[in-house]
């Protein structure tokens, strides 16, 4: 028999995530998946899971779970206090949770998104081969609520632990490398210069769809309307208010606002961990 986890505290927004459902963008299906994918993969590896087994992604306030059988879990990503049955437990390495005890991943002390992985992975039903909750189109499991029951898959033996796991610290300043285009020519040369030299800040309105910024407004060369076109992960879209939005994993697959530049996927994990107010700069590279 495998374990089930009952959610006792869902937190502000906690979702099931894995590597997402790439390959269906032409049908209007967002990629979805863990925003800080390296943290998801590291958490899974330390538990002996396949790297993209389904985990929980929390948002700022953590979550709490109670297993009906003993399980091994790992809380990583954004650092946070971890308790088991009210007693302090390790963050960033495997933790044993007895049947009926509550695992609490507390509020993030830095960063935004903690990852709660469980040995065996979360075994909710996949949709289009992914267990990820897609908050733009509603595919996959709903965000956790109190009382949600999550089935756990069969665990593999725990691997030998490295001495220190390389959890990156959440960024104090976010420097995002970009390649200009496909629509940089929709902006005035001054706006492109501003984009590449100004310091923006992370907006509190950021979510799984996009990292919104506050700061200078980027002026367009002409007002026209862009016919809908495909959008890549990491696209920096500029809506009419002129404030760049960096598309994260639940971004729409097509859009009608010009994309001034694209951030590589490898830089998006840091973007997902940047708290509101964090300074953001875009640099060519």
């Amino acid at each position: 028999m495998t374990a089930k986890l009952t959610v006792t505290r869902p937190g502000a927004l906690t979702t099931v995530q894995d590597a997402g459902r790439a390959g269906h963008a032409h049908l209007g299906v967002p990629r979805s998946g863990a925003l800080d994918a390296p943290s998801m993969r590291l958490a899974n590896r330390l538990l002996g899971n396949p790297a993209d087994a389904a985990v929980l992604e929390t948002t700022l306030t953590g979550c709490a779970l109670r297993p009906d059988r003993p399980v091994t879990v790992l809380v990583g990503g954004a650092p946070c206090p971890v308790t088991v049955g009210g007693r302090p437990a390790a963050w960033g390495s495997p933790v044993h949770v007895p049947a009926g005890a509550t695992l609490d991943a507390g509020p993030a002390t830095s960063g935004v998104r903690s990852y709660v992985a469980v040995a065996g992975g979360l075994a909710v039903d996949p949709v289009l081969d992914s267990r990820s909750a897609d908050l733009l189109s509603g595919l996959g499991p709903a965000p956790l609520a109190a009382g949600t029951v999550l089935p756990v898959g069969r665990a593999h033996p725990l691997p030998a632990l490295p001495v220190a796991a390389p959890w990156p610290a959440p960024p104090a300043e976010l420097v995002l490398p970009v390649l200009l285009g496909p629509r940089a020519d929709w902006f005035t040369p001054a706006a492109v210069r501003t984009f590449l030299t100004a310091t923006f800040t992370v907006s509190a309105h950021s979510n799984r769809i996009g990292l919104r910024t506050e700061g200078p407004s980027l002026e367009r060369e002409s007002a026209g309307e862009l016919p809908s076109e495909g959008m890549v992960l990491g696209a920096v879209q500029v809506p009419p208010d002129g404030r760049p939005v960096v598309f994260l994993h639940d971004h729409p697959t097509t859009g009608g606002y010009p994309v001034i530049a694209v951030v590589p996927e490898s830089a998006l994990a840091a973007a997902a961990q940047a708290v509101p107010g964090t300074p953001v700069r875009f640099t060519v590279g």
């Binding site: 209007g28 076109e229 495909g230």
Partner: protein, 214 residues
């Protein structure tokens, strides 16, 4: 270089190919799918058409692919063969009278006019399985509502600009609703091998029907 295509950069692993019009975009998209099926297209994870563009995403070497694309011979119109999906429609939408007025026809003539054409799914977006269908002649294009409705029901058959669409599920929406697909469930079913009934390139005919499904 054929078809007047412009290749734009879209990050380290993608290209956005821009074409002069919707026809050539459809033709270019069809040609890419044909080559992918034949195994003669370099690796591309996602081929995502838009109104005037095709996004090629998940490309290991965009520069090499861009050079290959420049030599591609693309027909000016998409192939007209292939399966046609038929959508039954009860023409009973709340905007039927408004559309009839814009078209300069009687309300009960909208169905015949709208159903007279063969449509093609130009691209998807907005929601899973939501296809933007081209094929309506320009004189029948209608504007979208200035203020979107907060809820458009699943199955709504609607018009906006050059496009027709069938809403796969209830969402907010600003399109002009002229009818209803009585059973919209086939539009999107992720348990099916082909989750979307209307995927890019699919041809579509609308068949006027009565409310009881006859």
């Amino acid at each position: 270089m054929s078809a007047g295509l412009t290749v734009r950069p879209a990050g380290r692993h993608a290209l956005l190919v821009e074409l002069p019009d919707a026809q050539r975009t459809g033709a270019f998209h069809a040609e890419l799918l044909r080559r992918r099926a034949a195994g003669t297209l370099p690796p591309v994870a996602e081929i995502v058409p838009g109104a005037r563009t095709v996004l090629l995403d998940g490309v290991p070497d965009p520069a090499a692919l861009a050079r290959r694309l420049a030599d591609l011979d693309v027909p000016t119109a998409p192939p007209a063969d292939g399966a046609v999906v038929e959508i039954p429609v009860v023409y009973d939408g709340p905007d039927l009278a408004g559309v009839a007025e814009l078209w300069g026809v009687a309300e009960d003539e909208v169905a015949a006019r709208h159903a007279a054409y063969t449509y093609r799914v130009a691209f998807c977006g907005f929601a899973p399985g939501f296809g933007y269908l081209t094929g309506l002649p320009e004189e029948l294009h209608v504007p979208r509502h200035a203020t979107p409705r907060t809820r458009v029901p699943a199955g709504a058959v609607a018009l906006a600009g050059p496009y027709s669409a069938v809403y796969p599920r209830a969402t907010p929406g600003g399109w002009q609703i002229i009818g209803t697909m009585p059973d919209p469930t086939p539009l999107w079913d992720p348990s099916r091998e082909r989750a979307a009934l209307l995927s890019p390139g699919t041809q579509v005919r609308f068949r006027p029907t009565e409310a009881d499904g006859r």
